[in-house]
Subunit: 350 residues, 2 copies
């Protein structure tokens, strides 16, 4: 999530502790291992979460670590699960995350998926029985770095009211897209089809912010700007009225019906107090633009980006993250000392 | 386009002339042939346009016929073009519409595309050098009737301002999606990523309606509710703010960069007075849900649709069109006599 995000407060940079990406990743991996994650899962999720923090996507950065730990402790998600991959058709892979996280399943599938996309022009990965508690852009960006176009969609738990409906059926159902671009980082968009991302509502609640109007309803279905009312039995609305709702419907069908996973409204975590990681289904489509015999794709993407800049568009999807990534590489990743202390406590004895 | 549509006025049903689908299609085919279309193109477009009128999608129905005729007469589009198909990878087809309409290119490609999707699990068709002047749902619905999931996107001519930008770069850039559903017609969504569809702006201008606020800007970039100001040098906004703009950006990249076609801002029809058919690129992705070894897809789609009904959603995407189609089959397709007379005049001597 980028614009409209209620980011965690950080205060003055002079009061921050700075870690390198490697240091932060190692600390987060210790936390995951201490919580019960396998070595492979800990490495995968630590890289993902540290990457979000590094890139300034703080609603999916270290802010999420207590939620990961709590969810693993509740037994809701299996952080030691080994995903299973099934090659079901020349351009179609299925992955069963075995009630573990989606990212290790994607990491397992990625080499075969890339090979299928390069051979066939397009390929699809359907992940089921998975948990996704991070941003979606880390799932697509590496494919664009490899010259491919990637599109992914995830359904989750019922927290979003369909247009014209009275109670939540859809998840926040994000969609992310990445495309290679000559001479610049890829174009990478990531957006919830709910009016806001859940992480941003959680941050607003924690920090005491109000929501903009039109984002959510309370438990009685009445419009509210109180993030706590949205989280406590209320729900989000879809973005863009009936159009966003139609896209969210598509994501439910692809994330659950196509993968063989659960619809958002079928997810019941009431037996797992402390559970915070959404049980999800995920579809990822890779396209090889060179298969169209038009190797100019990345150059054309650059031309479009330049045109957008000439009409005043100040920031293209992904730009802010790449800028922050460069800054973090130079200066380190700044954390509030109290947050860093909390992370060290979560990591257990050294 | 469904909701929010400014539909043409029709008045009292007692004053309408009723035609069967076959009669309307034959009349429209005569018009296309008289305008210079080949037999194959005339049959294809007449079925498409009569189908829109039959289904109550009147912003893409017979209202469009003068635009088709004017555009063909201007030399902007070649209604006698024969599209060419290239099989470039096991799951990737390209079509060059040869400056003709997109629908004949899609019709040519469809059998091979279905076969590729069934064999590989997913397949992509990239159409370039095409014109698309109709709704998108007719392009995806037949695939869902055949048990496949279909997704398509089209870019067009610069008439939509990107979020944070000052002038038009994107087209209305619609996206359509269709999925099979047990025991009911497929779920079929079709939406412009501009705040409104161009056809609806044209109808509002013709009928003297104002637009809702927040849909468009005038030639100086100022917000306006005057449809004529939007059409006369002004532009539409994207739906859903920066999120709709990100989706429109994806559609530009897929519709133009992937297909080898033109970006919306590269289309220049100034040398063809009377031209009305947008020069487009189009991507269509077919997924075989059975490839996921989950033949239950259509049953699961039905379960989701039923759940949406239970929370008060009164109309699912496509529902209104299927209801109107049934009514038209029973009662005929009602046309205002003056409109029917205009169509007969366009058809030339019998």
């Amino acid at each position: 999530m980028t614009r409209n995000s209620a980011q965690p407060e950080r205060g003055d940079a002079r009061n921050l502790d700075f870690l390198s990406f490697g240091e932060l990743k190692a600390l987060l991996a210790r936390i995951f291992r201490h919580a019960g994650a396998s070595e492979a899962v800990a490495e995968c999720l630590a890289a993902n979460c540290a990457g979000c923090e590094r890139d300034g996507a703080r609603s999916h950065g270290v802010f999420r670590m207590p939620g990961y730990v709590s969810s693993i402790a509740s037994g809701w998600v299996d952080a030691a699960a080994s995903p299973r991959l099934e090659d079901v058709a020349p351009a179609f892979l299925r992955a069963d995350a075995m009630n573990g996280f989606a990212q290790p399943a994607l990491a397992l599938a990625a080499p075969a998926l890339i090979e299928k996309a390069r051979r066939n022009g397009i390929a699809l990965l359907a992940i089921r029985n998975s948990h996704h508690f991070s941003a979606l852009w880390p799932d697509v960006e590496p494919f664009a770095e490899a010259g491919l176009v990637a599109l992914t969609m995830v359904n989750s738990f019922a927290c979003t009211v369909p247009f014209d409906g009275t109670s939540a059926v859809f998840g926040t159902n994000p969609i992310a897209f990445a495309a290679p671009r000559d001479g610049a980082p890829p174009l990478v968009a990531d957006l919830a089809t709910s009016a806001m991302a859940n992480g941003d509502v959680q941050i607003a609640a924690r920090e005491g912010f109000s929501l903009p109007p039109g984002q959510g309803v309370d438990q009685d279905g009445r419009p509210t700007i109180d993030p706590k009312a949205v989280l406590d039995g209320g729900a989000l609305l879809t973005f863009g009225g009936y159009k966003g709702s139609a896209i969210s419907l598509m994501i439910e069908l692809l994330g659950a019906a196509l993968t063989g996973g659960k619809f958002s409204y079928e997810v019941d975590w009431s037996g797992h107090p402390g559970a915070q990681t959404p049980h999800t289904g995920q579809v990822l489509i890779l396209i090889d633009p060179d298969a169209g015999r038009d190797a100019a794709f990345a150059g054309r993407a650059r031309a479009l980006a330049e045109r957008l800049g000439r009409v005043g568009v100040s920031r293209l999807p992904g730009d802010r993250r790449f800028r922050q990534r460069a800054r973090s590489a130079a200066e380190g990743i700044g954390l509030v000392p109290a947050d860093l202390a909390r992370l060290r406590a979560l990591a257990g004895p050294a």
